[in-house]
Every structure is written in C-alpha cells, then in structure tokens.
Symmetry: C2
Subunit: 412 residues, 2 copies
C-alpha cells in the first residue's frame, strides 16, 4: 500500500460533504433512549459506483444476503443505503429476508429510486424480528430530512451501538488533475452478537471510477485495514463495508486497476479505512490502550500477518498490556505457537520503543521505565522474526476488567 | 476412542502406587513459600518404555529440547524424569541447555542410572537462568527420600505453579489376562508465560508394551484429550506429556498398535488423560465453570474439532458463560466464523440440556431457567451442525474478572 500519492488531510470530512451525497438520520425507536438516532440513510444524487465487502461468517444476517444480491444484480451501481442500529435482523428466517427487502423499498421511495438501487445494513441484537412498524412510521420524516438536508451529521451517530465515540475521517487526493474527496463513517466496538457492536463502515468519494475497479481497490484496502483489526477475534453476522463513488458521470473514468490514478484511488480509500480501523480498536470494549502490532522480517506478508494476528489476539498479551506489563515472554510465545516456523534466535522485540528481547534471550531493561511508557493511550509492539521481506500490521486493544463487565455481567 | 474395554475406576491412584515406580519431592527454593515443594523426581526401578508429546511452540524451553533428544537416543526407554516448578528454563540460551543436562545428570545419580536415561521438565517463569546451586544442594535429600519412599504423594503438588488444586487420577484395565494400572498427575491452569502454569503431565503404567506402541497410543490419546483443552488458546514453551510403562519385563509384551490389548492400553491412557484434562479446565485461571463443548453432525472429526475449538476459545462465549447468560447468538456466531462451511438452517444448539436454537432461528425458552441451570460448576454446550459422522469434544472454562486480575493486575 506504499505509494507516492500525496494525500491531503481532511479530518472534518463527512460523507454528506462529498459532492453527490446526502445523509439523514433520526430516532425511530430501535434504541431505547430517544436522544439516540437509530435509523440513517445515505443517498447518492445519481447512480454511484458501489462496492461491498461482507462478513465471511456462515451465519450471516438478512441485510447482508440482500445487499450482496442487490450489488450483483445492478452490476455494482447504487443510489444509497439504509442503515439501522439496535437490531441486527440476523437469525430471523424468512421474515428477516422480507424485512430487509421492505427496508430497501421504503428507502428507495424516500430517495426516488428503484428498490434494487438501495442497499441495507443492520446492526444490534440478533434473533429478534425487526419492529418494522417503527421503521415504516419513521420513513416520511427521514425522507423530508434528506430533502431538506437536515441532521446530516447524525449519520455517523445513528449507526452506533455500544460504541463510546463516533468514528469518521476524510481526505483528499488528486485524480485526473482534479481534487477528489473521500469521507467515511463506521461503527464497531469489536463484538459480534446480541446487543453488541458489529463492524459497519461506509465510504463515500467523488472519484470517477467504474464499479469493478472500485470493488478491487476496496477489497485490497479492507484486507490491510479492517481485516487487520481485532478486538476479540470474532467476526459478526453483519460486518459490512460499503464504498460509493459518485463521479460516474465525470468526463474521464478510471477503468483499470493500475496506473497512478488507481494508486490515488487506493491511497484515498486506504487513508480513510486505516483511520476508521484504528478508531475501532481504540474504542474496543473495555479498551484502555490502542495497540499496534507490527511484524517484520517474515518470509512473506501472509506469514507476517498470521504472526501479528496471533499476538494481537492472545489474551495473555492483551491482559499484560492492560497491566502496563512489558511481558516479552507472552509476546514471543504467542508468535511461536501460531504455526509459522520462527527461530527465537532470529527474533527481536521492541515494545514502545524499548528493546526487550533479542537472539533467543531477554535483554536487560528497566521494567518500571517501560511500564511507564506503556501507560499511555497507545502501545506499539514491533517483532522482527528474521530478515525476510514480509511484514504486516494489526490493530487491537487490551483486555480489561471493562471487557468482562460489558460481556459477562450482562444477563439475557 | 470408543471401545468395549472395561475400565475399572481407581481415583485414588497415584504414580508411586503403580508397580515399578517411586516418586519423591521437596522444597529447594524455586518457589518462594517454603511449605511448597518445587522439585520432584519420578523414578522407574528398571528401564521403562517411555513416550512423550511436546509443545509445538517454536519457542521451546531447554528441557523440552533435551528430553526430546534423550528419548530419541535411548530408543524410547527411560529410568525417570526430574521436574521443577517455579522456573521454566526457557529463553535461557546455552546456559539453559547446560542446566537441563546437569539436572538429568544429578537425577541419574540419585536413581543410579545413566544421565541419558533421565528426562527433564521445568515450568514457571521464563527468561531467567535456573538457580542451579539450589537444585544441586537439594539432590542428596531428594535421593534419600526416593530410597526411603518418603513424601511420594508430594510429586503431584511439587509440579504445580498457579494451580489451585492438585490434579491426579488412576484406573485399571485387563491386558493379557492381568490387571494393569494407570496413574497420572498433571499441572496447568492454562497460561503460557512468566510466573504461570504451563501444561505438564506424567502417566505411569505397568502395562507391558514396547516404546513405539506406547508412543503411538499416547499421541492418539493426547490428541483427543490434552489437545482438546483450552483455557486461553495459548501453548507454552514447556508443554510436555510423558508416559512411562514399567511392564517391559513381562512375559508377554504388546508389540503392535492394534487388537484388544492395544485397545486396553489406549482405554487406560485415555481415562487418565481425559480426567486430567478436565481437571485443568476446571482449574483454569479465574474459572468459575468447567465447560464441555460437543460438536456433532460435522463432515468429519477434523471439521467438528475446528468448530468446537472456535466456540471454546471465543471470548464472547466464555464471558457469556461467566455471566450464566444463555447467549446462543455468540455460540452460533463463533461456529459460523471458523472457516468450516456450516448452514445455520441445519444447526441445533443445546446448552445445559435446553434447546435454544434450531433451523436458523432461536427457539422460545425461559432465559431465567436456563441461566439458573448454567449457574452450576459445569456447563455443557452441544451444537449439531448437520447429519455428518464427524464429532469432537473440547474442554474449556469461562472468562472472568479473576482471569484479568491474575494476568493484568500483576506487574513485572
């Protein structure tokens, strides 16, 4: 993902500020608190190129099945997506499939498009049918808000469940001599099941690109950002990342997945997805530390990724970080057990800039000093496992009493 | 592992009660508290058939490398094993290798055997050289205790680290018309790294069997017992299971890995290893529940095992159990994401005897009643994923505040 593309920061970038997009949100009654929006609409003024990456879980929710199919049947064009939080519409059988279809139809009316042009995402409790009457009742107001462009910024808040903070980011790059914008919003606190966050992400751009190429770029970028993110090692029934590109009517369209314009597209998507993935890890349930695990010197990127993931998912590594404990043994052990052949004699471990382990043995270090360095919001782990060209980076968070409280102290 | 062999219970069975074996233990100063034994010897009166299963972690401790080599060079015969707790002798470089060799030599002197006939196991903190002077100083007393058969029962206690309880079990089976005994002791609370439990297990039997066949039976049994056990998903630098069979001088020796006598050998080993594995899960760090995950109806046993393991290792499943929460969604989701193709429509889930999920949707159930049933020491999860012949069983425990306290609130 390294490139020479110049990415211009646009941290205040929101989806509705990208040319061609509008958003609207309101509270329809899926979340208990009436000040929390729970139904949101992202609309494209004209058919946009659309691409999606969906959960690989065999147990997938009705909106996932619906949106996958819709994207296929339009050849990758869409006019928007309707999203609800508070109910995942998963494990809901035939009724769930009908409800997803109806949501698309209602949203299409609001946007003035064909039902097939609208995608659907849901997140929240699983195993409960959607209270469709509330969604139906809320649609006229949602449509009005969309037309009058009111409450557009609430989109990012309406998609949240157990998240503590709203997650958005934006950037700009040059394509075909013009500045194009990227803005994204996502939700996720790392959990999978009832009453929990699952990962949903939405990226809007006015880049001029055909659907196939957008899909290719999104898949590649998600693979190195959202797919290198773990809070508790689970994937949900509803995980979905959608990208929309409104520049489909530009004079010049990117039709090939190569060259400098493609690199610019990738760079823009990467910047937004990377930022959103980091924000999810930082807001992981119970998280006190955002942890970045970098593995270098592996045979190839795939091997590096397996090692990085084993470290990022190890409960022992994550609890050590919760305690600001420079427990190099747990990190090296996690790397050693992941199925990739490593030689401890060739390993070197650095935590928060301190060298802790090299050539099979611990280095002398001041534990209090390292512990104090770990006591910030960010912890970095860098493990070199040899002199190969493979590297990978994973985002995760620590495992704390807060995680247990959220997940165990709740009763069905 | 199903067979028609009659296994006779012998729950009070200890290694030293199996004909041909003696044990001894004492406190030499590796553990801080002087009332806790930390050095132990298991001795066979005559060369016994010996077999071992070792950690697959690339970062493996010096005693693991030593014992593997010793078993190879004797062709699978041994006179015993010396075990210390409190220090893993892992990540200790060349000094560690020398120390493991010296431990074998000291133990061989005590037993009156060749150094190569003694195996070595260590467990405890990693990255610190063994304080060999304490081990050296303690050996004469350990040898005396072995000769005078004093403190033999302390073997099972001397191998513990963070374990709360001693883990032993025994049984008897008939082989070649005679009753043979099996007794085992193990330690493990599920952790891998500094100051923690790693899994060590020792099984003694007077079964008449040649080393190759003992190795084959042990590997098969460990694969379905200790290898179907998870507390936190990590494997340590020191994990070792050793089996010794003293009947090498019996008139009839089992020389083939088939037939009813082989089945009897397997049944005896299985009974002891299964019991010890259960005891480790029940004593997992912070554990409040022993959890048994059974997956049936899979394409084959391997697929069933992957699914069972995903459920057993899911932090979301484990925290739900900590809260006595019949959270079927988390269990089904964990199964759905493990890479094995399952169809929710073909799944059926039972927790503590209650049917919670079937044919892609939740069943109506009384949550309070199920929660109350989960509030015992044991929780059973049974997931059918189809009508295939594959099945597997995993032992695990719940994930509690206790786990976080033990592992995060400790400072290096």
């Amino acid at each position: 993902m390294k490139s020479n593309v110049r990415v211009i920061e646009w941290p205040e970038g929101m989806i509705h500020a990208v040319p061609g997009f509008r958003t609207a949100a309101l509270h329809c009654g899926l979340k208990r608190k009436s000040d929390k929006p729970d139904l949101a609409l992202l609309a494209c003024d004209r058919p946009a190129a659309a691409a999606g990456v969906f959960t690989t879980n065999c147990v997938c929710a009705a909106p996932v099945a619906y949106s996958r199919r819709a994207l296929r049947s339009t050849g990758g064009y869409a006019r928007g997506v309707i999203v609800n939080a508070g109910n995942a519409n998963a494990c809901t059988g035939q009724q769930g499939a009908r409800d997803a279809r109806e949501m698309a139809r209602l949203a299409a009316q609001a946007v003035g498009a064909r039902p097939i042009d609208l995608l659907v995402c849901s997140t929240g409790v699983i195993g409960h049918p959607l209270p469709m009457e509330r969604i139906r009742a809320a649609m006229p107001l949602l449509a009005r808000r969309l037309r009058h462009r009111r409450g557009q910024g609430d989109f990012a808040r309406a998609i949240l469940t157990t998240d503590l903070v709203r997650k958005t980011d934006g950037c700009k790059v040059r394509m075909f001599g013009r500045t194009v914008r990227f803005a994204g919003a996502c939700k996720g606190s790392g959990m999978i099941a009832p009453r929990m966050a699952t990962l949903l992400g939405f990226i809007a751009t006015d880049a001029p690109v055909v659907p196939d190429v957008l899909q290719r770029a999104l898949s590649e970028v998600v693979d190195r950002t959202f797919n290198c993110l773990t809070v508790d090692g689970d994937t949900s029934t509803n995980d979905t990342i959608l990208a929309f590109a409104s520049g489909t009517h530009a004079p010049r369209l990117l039709k090939e997945a190569r060259g400098p314009e493609y690199e610019a597209l990738q760079a823009g998507l990467y910047r937004v997805c990377d930022s959103l993935a980091r924000q999810v890890a930082a807001d992981g349930e119970g998280a006190q530390h955002l942890v970045t695990v970098v593995v270098g010197g592996a045979k190839d990127d795939r091997q590096a990724r397996v090692i990085a993931r084993a470290i990022a998912e190890s409960p022992l590594v994550k609890t050590a970080i919760a305690g600001n404990d420079p427990n190099w043994g747990r990190i090296v052990c996690a790397a050693g057990r992941c199925g990739i052949r490593i030689r401890p004699e060739e390993c070197a471990l650095t935590v928060c800039g301190f060298d802790l382990f090299k050539a099979g043995q611990p280095l002398p270090f001041d534990a209090a000093k390292v512990s104090s360095a770990m006591d910030g919001t960010e912890v970095s782990i860098v493990l070199m496992v040899g002199d190969g060209p493979g590297s990978a980076r994973f985002y995760t968070c620590d495992l704390t009493h807060g995680y247990i409280t959220i997940n165990a102290d709740y009763h069905t």
